[in-house]
Symmetry: C2
Subunit: 154 residues, 2 copies
DNA sequence: GGAATATAGCATCTGACGGGTACCATTTCA
DNA sequence: TGAAATGGTACCCGTCAGATGCTATATTCC
């Protein structure tokens, strides 16, 4: 429960890869092979990230994707929202579009405190950037190259 | 996504109700009627909360449930864990029993930073008590974030 | 003692959705 | 012109959240 889905996981892997390679355009195939992610699924995810404005796409042969926003400006929150829809700790949370009134809104005894929690949680996600995840010190301590080929044993 | 389930929602409502009435033993029926929660489902949830040691149960006529722990000692984390199992932001998170090695552990490029996030998230849940939720005024906001915080070992 | 009330512990059902696949159109490069 | 890549859409399938039902057991009240 309260867990990230595979989609989020793959999205983060792809986004972090793009962040690490910098400006270069990378194809879905390349990312899928390097990180052993199912290619068709990754393609769907990258499409979503593109629609959400997280990545730019280049069509045609030699096409691919690149970050649309600097890694330190792209929040975890934005990436997750792109592939999962709005993050809602509780269904009755007011998330703008798509939020429908909770059927228990009138009598709900935990509505107010849960909404506060919800907003704290959103802030939590908003304060983490792709840069934080992609350029984690622990990652660089490993024998992994920027181009990704790596076999790290634990 | 990343949302609490109905089970968690009902569990929190029940727990908060128990917290508010103090020592008194309250039946599942009473809580269900007051808060318009499906009774059979609530009964299941209260059973789980009992097994997890969050609430005490009294069997027989005039029986019911009461908090097993002071409201300000019972964490949100404990309640959620009772009804949902271990909170795991990612499936590969080390949660003691039940954790199985991630099949991509060796090559996963986001493992370390995500694990840090996971632990911060757990701390986030650990710092909120039932008292905070049940007695809203007592609730206060804390800054959360990834940067500038003490590193959490895995 | 017996009926009523309430929890304990199962076992089961069903719809929704996460995870994954397939197909075709479109664009670009060689 | 064909290969390589994205764009868009529709679909399948297994799992699980959400909910229900039944029986056993414990306690209270008459």
């Amino acid at each position: 429960m309260l867990s990230l889905t595979k989609k989020s996981e793959y999205a983060l892997i792809a986004i972090c890869h793009l962040a690490r390679v910098g400006e270069r355009v990378v194809s879905a195939r390349e990312i899928a092979e390097l990180h052993q992610v199912p290619l068709p699924l990754l393609m769907n995810i990258l499409k979503q990230l593109n629609q959400a404005g997280c990545v730019n796409s280049v069509r045609g042969a030699r096409g691919g994707y690149s970050l649309a926003v600097p890694a330190d400006s792209l929040t975890l929150s934005a990436v997750l929202r792109a592939v999962e829809g709005p993050v809602r700790l509780v269904n009755c949370a007011p998330v703008g579009t798509g939020s429908r009134a909770c059927e228990r809104a009138g009598i709900c005894s935990i509505r107010s405190p849960i909404h506060k929690l919800h907003h704290q949680f959103l802030r939590f996600l908003d304060e983490v950037t792709v840069s934080d995840v992609a350029f984690d010190e622990a990652y660089y301590e490993r024998p992994v190259g920027m181009n990704g080929e790596a076999a790290v044993s634990e």
